[in-house]
């Protein structure tokens, strides 16, 4: 029975836990198995709002219940607690209140299911309408310009989006011009201001690109970016558009309507402008190609010149050759006509002392001396007296 004995009393080798150790260990277990917040649906009851602003309430369904707390900062954003018994979604992280060993849900968001239901329904309606009108069609998507230089940014003037876009653009493509059309991006009036701002974009001359953006914010604040009016006005912007609503996971309808979706305003700026470094490298490359392009042209010119010279020379030579052969031919003809050739056949030419040819009988007076030209020389002769 040593086994049961061992469990009846702690032995010297057993580790004895303190309560704090136990609770801390269980807390770590929760954290390990549910590292991300979860949406939980239930009925919200017994809500107590403390002077610190924290809410403590119970979330329950037919079978179970769990203690919840919503801390001040999140509670302030949530407004007033819903009426007792309201069905809600809560976004929370399971945890353990170590001091008391209480299992609880640390809640960051409380949404009455009815309101979400309404929002969801409206979202589906708008989405279907836009889809039907082809506003999400891939064929509508325009490519972004390669080197945008005038960029419109529709966003809140004091939000993070402006700062983020300006920072990235300044670093990558400082020759750009960033034109900010300010509009509220959440809350009452946001839809109207966004529509007005997007219309203004269409009046800016020589614009290359438009970014519709918003820094990170609460999910329910996306409403303006899901509005039908904003989506339809965005679709009418005459330059390529980027929607950057600042949520990695949630997609807004403007993301689907815009030509390109960016996860954040910074990412939008990266897509919007070229990188100065890349363009500088491109210029280097172009300058090399320019020089070698001209080099090629010049080489070709020289080659052509050389070819022309060769041709000229060949033409000249052939002209000389043809002249020469003509001369040869004439010489041969001359040769054929030469009296020497006649003499060669045995004829002789009588020449007077003055060198003239004696042709007529009368010229041969008796006793006259003359020369007889034969093929190989002259022979002195005299007419018989």
């Amino acid at each position: 029975m040593t086994l049961s004995l061992a469990f009846n009393v702690p032995s010297a080798t057993d580790q004895v836990w303190s309560v704090g150790q136990l609770n801390a260990s269980v807390k770590r277990l929760f954290e390990k198995h549910a590292p991300n917040p979860l949406w939980v649906r239930g009925e919200m009851v017994q809500c107590k709002v403390w002077s610190s602003g924290h809410w403590y309430f119970t979330l329950r369904d037919k079978r179970s219940q769990v203690r919840c707390c919503l801390f001040g900062l999140n509670a302030a954003r949530a407004g007033k607690p819903p009426a007792d018994g309201t069905e809600v979604y809560v976004l929370g992280r399971p945890g353990l209140y170590e001091d008391k060993g209480d299992f609880q849900l640390i809640v960051s968001r409380v949404l009455p299911t009815a309101s979400v239901g309404g929002q969801q329904q409206e979202l589906e309606r708008v989405k279907a309408a836009l889809q039907q009108d082809g506003l999400f069609d891939a064929a509508r998507k325009r490519p972004l310009p390669k080197y945008a230089s005038i960029i419109a940014l529709v966003t809140s003037r004091d939000g993070a989006a402006l700062h983020d876009v300006a920072t990235v653009t300044r670093k990558r493509w400082p020759c750009a011009q960033l034109l900010v059309i300010s509009a509220r991006v959440q809350g009452d009036g946001a839809v109207g201001e966004l529509v007005q701002a997007l219309r203004l974009v269409n009046r800016i001359p020589r614009l290359d690109l438009c970014i519709l953006g918003r820094g990170g914010g609460a999910r329910e604040d996306l409403a303006a970016f899901n509005s039908e009016a904003v989506c339809r006005t965005l679709a009418e912007v005459r330059v390529p558009t980027i929607s950057a609503v600042g949520h990695e996971v949630d997609i807004s309808l403007t993301d689907l309507v815009a030509d390109v979706r960016a996860a954040t305003p910074s990412a939008a700026a990266e897509l919007a402008v070229a990188d100065r470094q890349d363009v500088s490298r491109l210029l280097d490359d172009l300058s090399v190609r320019l020089a070698s392009g001209l080099g090629g042209r010049t080489r070709l010119g020289f080659e052509r010149l050389a070819r022309a010279e060769d041709r000229l020379q060949a033409a000249l030579q052939s002209a000389v050759r043809s002249q020469r052969s003509r001369a040869d031919r004439l010489a041969a003809q001359l040769d054929a006509l030469s009296p020497l050739r006649v003499l060669g056949r045995g004829y002789a030419v009588p020449l007077g002392t003055d060198g003239r040819v004696l042709k007529r009988r009368a010229e041969f007076t008796p006793g006259r001396s003359f020369q007889l030209q034969v093929v190989d020389g002259e022979v002195p002769a005299r007419v018989e007296p």
Binding site: Y147, P174, A176, L178, I181, I204, L286, R289, R297
Partner: protein
């Protein structure tokens, strides 16, 4: 395009500058150009390269707010961002 035109076009956007440069290089590389035209293109290319480099080096991001005046005109005001 003459050299003077190329210099004037420093006010054109870098986009146009780059597009024209790419065209010049392509023509020099591909077309059977007369030497005269090739030289003219080269000169223009060099002027544009210089202009583009200068623009890139000297540029400072301009951030402006665009507002609509009561008259309906657009007004640009400098913005610190």
């Amino acid at each position: 395009m003459t050299r003077k035109d190329a210099a004037n076009s420093a006010t054109a956007s870098v986009t146009e500058e780059l597009a024209r440069l790419e065209e010049i290089v392509r023509r020099l590389e591909a077309e059977d150009l007369e030497l005269d035209s090739a030289l003219a293109l080269f000169e223009e290319g060099v002027a544009r390269l210089r202009a583009a480099r200068e623009r890139l080096a000297a540029a400072e991001l301009k951030v402006q707010a665009v507002l609509e005046e009561a008259s309906g005109d657009l007004r640009y005001t400098k913005l610190d961002a």
